[in-house]
């Protein structure tokens, strides 16, 4: 059960972030980004699907990927708070992706070294490469905006101020995740700090950004204690599915 929950946390992270990025579709600042952002969203949603499917099998109660994605409410979602933060502007959106990918890339690389779960290994092999691309794409934008115009630099600094407080949660393991770590399924989150710091440090140096001290990190997602935005995201995402119980799409 703990492993089911730990996989679900990961799946929720990917679906919620993929969904947020997909909200940009057709509204990006330039056509090239209208093509690039769906790629990122598709990578994330694709990973979530494999993880939900795997979680459903581990649980053994016949829940499909869609049951898990569409029939749990905001108190049952286990994503970290970072991924549910609203898009705000392009600076926030790119920084959020950079923070997440800079964590997930070393996470999946470590998973490849240690996991005893073949499905998780399969996910890691694919997702590691995708996260490298997300780091590059989002990181380049953080640099361009941080070292662009006065306005873009100010917006980038605002984004750092708004989002940095959510990054500590990435390194925390819930009781379920800790059990999956002890069982050799998932890597220890706290061990990935140095790898994350290195990527963020490099990007921030080029972007003329500073990582702020965070005296009071925001956490709680793994306990289902979310911000107010997640309920709206889920209400929208789940509306059709829930309006037609048992239907096939």
């Amino acid at each position: 059960m703990a492993i089911f929950e730990a996989i679900l946390e990961l799946a929720d992270d990917h679906l919620v972030l993929g969904h947020r990025i997909s909200e940009w579709c057709g509204h990006a600042p330039m056509l090239e980004e209208d093509l690039a952002m769906p790629n990122m969203a598709l990578d994330l949603i694709g990973t979530s699907r494999t993880l939900y499917d795997h979680a459903g099998k581990l649980e053994g109660k016949g829940q499909s990927e869609d049951d898990l994605a569409y029939l749990r409410g905001e108190r049952e979602y286990r994503n970290c708070l970072l991924v549910e933060r609203p898009n705000e502007d392009f600076a926030h959106t790119m920084l959020r992706s950079l923070y997440f990918a800079a964590f997930m890339r070393p996470y999946w690389l470590k998973t490849l070294e240690m996991t005893n779960d073949e499905t998780v290994r399969g996910v890691a092999g694919k997702a590691e490469k995708e996260m490298a691309y997300h780091i590059r794409h989002a990181g380049e934008w953080v640099i361009r905006l941080g070292d662009g115009t006065e306005e873009s630099a100010a917006r980038m600094r605002d984004a750092v101020a708004a989002l940095h407080i959510y990054t500590d949660e990435l390194f925390e393991s819930s009781p379920a995740a800790a059990e999956a770590e002890r069982a050799g399924v998932l890597p220890v989150r706290a061990d990935l700090r140095a790898a994350w710091d290195e990527v963020i440090g490099q990007v921030f140096a080029e972007a003329f950004l500073e990582a702020p001290e965070v005296p009071y990190p925001q956490t709680g997602g793994r306990k289902g204690l979310h911000g107010e935005g997640l309920g709206h995201l889920l209400a929208e995402m789940q509306s059709v599915y829930r309006a037609h119980p048992g239907a096939t799409w």
């Binding site: 600042p29 569409y70 361009r144 905006l145 662009g148 239907a247």
Partner: protein, 327 residues
Amino acid sequence: MYSQGLIGADGSTTETQEFLDAFQKRIDAEEKIEPTDAMPEGYRRTLVRQIGQHAHSEIVGMLPEGNWITRAPSLRRKAALLAKVQDEGGHGLYLYSAAETLGVSREQMTEELHSGKAKYSSIFNYPTLTWADIGIIGWLVDGAAIMNQIPLCRCSFGPYARAMIRVCKEESFHQRQGYEIVMTLAQGTPEQKAMAQDALNRWWWPSIMMFGPHDADSQHSDQSMAWKIKRFSNDELRQKFIDATVPQAEYLGLTIPDPDLKWNEEKQGYDHGRIDWDEFWRVVKGHGPMARDRIKDRKAAWDNGAWVREAALAHAEKRRTRKMAAE
């Protein structure tokens, strides 16, 4: 997604008869015209207009379908819809590039879209009201686009023809995917089937209007035909589309909302009821239900993104300056 029957391509031209005859000879020999070749001004203007309208249609077309990405009722459908809308953006990009070979910039074309000077396919000025609309659009609207674009793969202008070959492959994938969504609904619960029928009722007439006015009322068509920009008339393509689509609807158990639709043994095709041309012209002239919202959304995306584009330029400039200082 679309270009047939768009309004206002003006093929009038002022070159000498000798020049025009020599050009026509190349066209008749099925030679491809490339961007650096000499061409009549009217040919260039017609293509800029048509390719531009086609590109804008792809871009505006992202909005009605994008409207359902966040509500797609399964993760598989969500991913497929995202990929589809992304494809449409890709089509817009190839088409803008094809138009740019004729000496107009993407920026200029974008401004014309926002000011209302450039048109796009009026089908996208109808709203997507239920999930079934996503299936129906793939089936009918992408289906109509294919009818129109397959002949464009042989268009005399090389860059446009080559762009269309790639685009057509993706459109036919979209059409099959749309049909499969509708099939799932038609075989689903009574509510799902009703949703599919309702969407068909709303999209059928606008879809067959996509082929443009009847041949007798279509200006500028003859010159486009002679230059092999266009290969079939509006009515010919509309007929092909209806003949292909009616059996598909029957297979689904859905009813096409045209009581006058019937098989004509003599012409080996379907006769259809009267098209409401008042509605057609109203929507073409910008009075469709979503016309103002579509342009407002596109302008908002563009205006809200201005600071990002400016920052990218400023950053590139800083890099160049630093590199030069270092050398």
